[in-house]
C-alpha cells in the first residue's frame, strides 16, 4: 500500500498539481462573470434570481442543489487531461475502454429466478434465445437466507422470489445445457456466507461437466453490507466474521478462477433500502477499500487483486445526477487506486459496473408508467458508461416479472442499443458545464462521506457500531414521508392521479410443486450420498472456520460431498456464533 496511513482526504488533496492546464483562461472567466451578473439583472425576473438554486425532490436522489443555468464559472478549474482524459485514459472519467460501446456493447443481463432449478433453467434458455448476452440468477428466500427447502422455517416459501438451490445437484440442473464456457453468469448470492456455500456448488457442478475453472466467467455478489445491514432475516453472523468470509471468497476466486469477478460491491440494495445516490457509492467504496487492505495484508499484490473488482449501482430518476454519478465514481476510484493503493496496472483503476434500474421508483398504480421510468433510467446508465444493465420490469410491484414483462425489459435495452445511436459516441455528456459541475460535486460529497466512515475506524466498525443501520433508517423514514406528502412527486401516485379503474395486468404465478420437488430431491440426496464423507467434510470446514485458513476449499469439499446449504450454514453458526444487529425501530 502506497499511502496507507494518510487519510483519504489528505491523499486526494495531495495529488500532484504541477503542469496543471485549466481549460478556461482567467480573462475569459472574468468576462463571463461580468456578463452573467449583468444578464441576471437584466434578463431574469426577481423570482428566478431568488430561486437560482433549487434542490429537486427525486426518489433516492443526491439532493444536490441545481443552478438555473451552468456556465464555465461552475467548473473554472477544469483541466481536461487531469480531470477527464479521453476514454481509456486516467482518470477514466469518460469511460474505461478507449472505444467504449463501439468495441464492447453493454451486456444485457436480466436477472431470473423462480421455482425450482428446472423452472429457472427454462427461463434462462428463453432469455438467451431472445438475445440476452449474459445471465443473472437470483435465489429464493430460503436459499438466500441459507436454509434448506425441508427446514420448517422454509415452509411455503420454496421457489419464491428466486430459484431454490439446496445442493450441487440443483446447481447442475439450473445450468443444464447452458454453455458456461461462452456466456458469463452473474450468481446473485448477495451475502458472503451464502457465496461461500453456493459458489462452490456452482464450481462442483461445472467440474462434473468437465469444465475447468479457468474457462468460467461471471461474477458473484459477496457483499457484507447486504448480509449485515440491508436484509431482514432471522439469524445473522457477526460482521467481522462475515467480512472475513467475504475476503476468503475474494482470495480463493481470484487465485483459482482467473476470469471471475470475485465481488460485486453492491450499492444497489443499500440504496433501495434507503440511502442517497452519494451514500450508495461511499459505502460500496469503503467496503472495497477495506477488502483491498485485508487482501493486501494477506500478502497479495494490489494489481493482481484489483483488476477483478466490480460494482453494482442503482439508477433512479434524477437523470443527469445518475449519469454524472457513474462518471464521478469512475474518476474517484481511479484516484483511490492510484494514489492510496499505489496500483500500477491501469486496469486496476477501472471502476467497472453493472447497474439496475430502481425498483423503489416503480409504482403499483398505473403500472405501464414503469416502462417509461425504467427506459429513462436505462438511458442515463448508458450515457454514464455502465458495463452491464438490468432493466426492472413494470409489473414488479405485483410479483416477479412475467415472461412478457422480462422480455420487454430486454427489448428496452435492445432499443437503446440498436435504434437510438447513443452508443456510437463515447461519453456524450462530457464537457457539459452542468454535468461536469455535478460530477465534481458528487465526487466531493463521496469523499466527505468516506472520511466520516474512516473517522470511526472503517467500514466494518461502522456496521458493528450501528452507524450505518441508523443512517439508513433515518434516511428512509424521512424519504418515505416525502413520497407520501408529494414533496417527491410520483406520477399516478401523488400527482396526476387518474382515479379511473385500472385494467388488470397479467401477474406471474409461481410454479406449483416446486417445494415438493425440492423435498424429494433432498431426501434422495441424503439417502444416496456417502454420509460419512459428508460429515467429515462438514467437520473439516468447521475446523477451518475456527482457524485463520481460507475456508472456501473446505466448503468446496462439502459441495462435492453432497452437503446441503443448510448443513453448511449450521457449521458457520456453530463456528462464529450469532450477532444481534442494532435495532432501528
Amino acid at each position: 500500500m502506497a499511502e496507507g496511513k494518510k487519510t483519504l482526504k489528505e491523499i486526494i488533496n495531495k495529488i500532484p498539481q504541477d503542469k496543471r492546464q485549466t481549460l478556461f483562461d482567467g480573462k475569459a472567466l472574468d468576462l463571463i462573470k461580468e456578463g452573467t451578473i449583468k444578464w441576471k439583472e437584466e434578463s431574469l425576473k426577481e423570482g428566478d434570481r431568488k430561486n437560482w438554486k433549487v434542490t429537486p425532490g427525486t426518489t433516492l436522489g443526491s439532493e444536490i442543489p441545481r443552478n438555473l443555468i451552468y456556465t464555465p464559472l461552475d467548473t473554472p478549474d477544469l483541466d481536461y487531461r487531469r480531470d477527464l482524459g479521453n476514454s481509456g485514459q486516467e482518470p477514466f472519467t469518460r469511460g474505461v475502454h478507449p472505444n467504449m460501446y463501439r468495441g464492447k456493447k453493454f451486456t444485457m443481463r436480466q436477472i431470473n429466478g423462480f421455482g425450482g432449478p428446472e423452472d429457472t433453467n427454462k427461463r434462462l434458455k428463453f432469455m438467451l434465445d431472445s438475445g440476452a448476452t449474459g445471465l443473472s440468477v437470483i435465489f429464493d428466500l430460503p436459499t438466500t437466507q441459507m436454509y434448506d427447502s425441508d427446514d420448517p422455517i422454509s415452509s411455503g416459501q420454496v421457489g419464491t422470489s428466486g430459484v431454490a438451490i439446496d445442493s450441487t445437484r440443483d446447481m447442475e440442473i439450473l445450468f443444464d445445457a447452458i454453455p458456461l464456457e461462452e456466456v458469463t453468469v452473474s450468481i446473485v448470492t448477495h451475502f458472503p456466507s451464502n457465496t461461500a456455500i453456493l459458489f462452490p456448488m456452482f464450481l462442483a457442478a461445472a467440474e462434473k461437466r468437465g469444465i475447468s475453472f479457468d474457462r468460467l466467467g461471471g461474477t458473484v455478489q459477496n457483499d457484507t453490507t447486504m448480509e449485515e445491514v440491508v436484509r431482514s432475516g432471522p439469524e445473522y453472523l457477526p460482521p467481522k466474521d462475515v467480512f472475513r468470509i467475504q475476503c476468503d471468497n475474494n482470495e480463493y476466486i481470484r487465485q483459482n478462477i482467473p476470469r471471475w469477478n470475485f465481488t460485486t460491491f453492491n450499492g444497489y440494495n443499500l440504496r433501495e433500502f434507503g440511502t442517497s445516490s452519494v451514500t450508495e457509492i461511499a459505502i460500496a467504496f469503503a467496503n472495497a477499500m477495506e477488502t483491498l487492505e485485508n487482501l493486501s495484508s494477506r500478502g497479495h499484490d494490489i494489481d493482481f487483486i484489483a483488476k477483478r473488482l466490480a460494482f453494482f449501482w442503482s439508477i433512479s430518476n434524477d437523470f443527469f445526477d445518475e449519469a454524472a454519478r457513474i462518471r464521478a465514481a469512475r474518476r474517484l476510484w481511479s484516484r483511490i487506486m492510484k494514489y492510496k493503493f499505489g496500483a500500477k496496472d491501469p486496469r486496476s483503476q477501472w471502476m467497472r459496473c453493472h447497474v439496475q434500474t430502481s425498483g423503489l421508483t416503480l409504482t403499483r398504480q398505473e403500472p405501464l408508467n414503469n416502462i417509461v421510468r425504467a427506459s429513462y433510467q436505462a438511458l442515463a446508465s448508458v450515457l454514464g458508461g455502465a458495463q452491464s444493465l438490468h432493466v426492472s420490469s413494470y409489473d414488479e410491484a405485483y410479483a416477479v416479472p412475467t415472461e412478457e414483462a422480462a422480455l420487454l425489459s430486454l427489448r428496452t435495452q435492445q432499443i437503446i442499443q440498436a435504434e437510438t445511436a447513443v452508443t456510437e459516441v463515447v461519453d456524450p455528456l462530457g464537457g457539459s458545464y452542468y454535468v461536469e459541475a455535478l460530477t465534481d460535486e458528487i465526487e466531493k460529497r463521496i469523499i466527505d462521506e468516506l472520511s466520516q466512515i474512516e473517522a470511526q475506524g472503517g467500514y466494518v466498525k461502522a456496521i458493528e457500531r450501528g452507524w450505518l443501520h441508523r443512517k439508513v433508517a433515518t434516511y428512509f423514514q424521512t424519504e418515505q414521508a416525502k413520497m407520501e406528502s408529494g414533496e417527491i412527486p410520483i406520477v399516478g401516485l401523488n400527482c396526476y392521479k387518474s382515479g379511473r379503474k385500472e385494467a388488470p395486468i397479467d401477474v406471474f404465478s409461481y410454479p406449483e410443486e416446486a417445494e415438493k420437488r425440492q423435498l424429494d430431491k433432498l431426501a434422495r440426496l441424503k439417502d444416496e450420498r456417502d454420509s460419512k464423507k459428508a460429515q467429515r467434510a462438514l467437520k473439516t470446514l468447521e475446523d477451518a472456520c475456527k482457524s485463520d485458513t481460507n475456508i472456501v476449499p473446505y466448503s468446496l469439499e462439502c459441495a462435492r460431498a453432497g452437503c446441503s446449504e443448510g448443513e453448511i450454514f449450521k457449521v458457520f453458526k456453530s463456528a462464529y456464533g450469532l450477532w444481534n444487529p442494532p435495532e432501528v425501530f
Binding site: T160, G233, A473, F476, P504
Partner: protein, 133 residues
C-alpha cells in the same frame, strides 16, 4: 374513561428480506399513539405465540417475497386454532397481486395494504377496525 391504547404486533412474515415498508409503518403507527411491537422475521406460529403473549389488538404482517398466500392462510388458521381470530384485527402489507388480495380477505384478513398505501390510511383503517371489534 381514558381511550385504551391500541397495541400492534408487527412482523416480517417468514424469510422475506425487505423491511423498509414495515419499519416505516411501525414508526407511523407509533407516532399516531399506538403501542408497537416489532418482532422481525417470524414463522406464522411464532407470530401467533407473540400475539397471545403480548395480548396485541392488531397483528400486522409484511410480505414482499411472494409467500403471502400460503403463509397468510397458515397464520389465520393458527389464529383460529388458538381462538384469537375473532377478537383481534389481522392485517397484511406488501407486494400482493389483486387476485391474492381477495383470497386473503376471504381467508380472514381484515385489510391488505399494497405498495403506495398512505400511512394515514393505514392508521385510520386500524382505528376504525379496532372500534368495530
Amino acid at each position: 374513561m381514558m381511550k385504551k391504547t391500541i397495541k400492534v404486533l408487527l412482523a416480517k412474515l417468514g424469510l422475506d428480506i425487505h423491511n423498509r415498508g414495515v419499519l416505516f409503518v411501525a414508526k407511523n403507527l407509533r407516532d399516531a399513539g399506538m403501542e408497537v411491537i416489532y418482532i422481525g422475521n417470524s414463522t406464522p406460529q411464532q407470530i401467533i405465540n407473540s400475539a397471545i403473549q403480548e395480548d396485541a389488538d392488531v397483528v400486522g404482517v409484511s410480505s414482499l417475497g411472494g409467500a403471502h398466500l400460503i403463509l397468510g392462510e397458515k397464520l389465520i388458521s393458527l389464529a383460529k386454532k388458538e381462538h384469537i381470530k375473532e377478537d383481534r384485527i389481522y392485517l397484511m402489507g406488501g407486494a400482493v397481486p389483486e387476485e391474492d388480495m381477495k383470497k386473503l380477505e376471504r381467508a380472514g384478513f381484515d385489510a391488505i395494504f399494497t405498495s403506495g398505501a398512505a400511512s394515514k390510511e393505514i392508521v385510520s383503517s386500524i382505528e376504525n377496525l379496532v372500534k368495530e371489534l
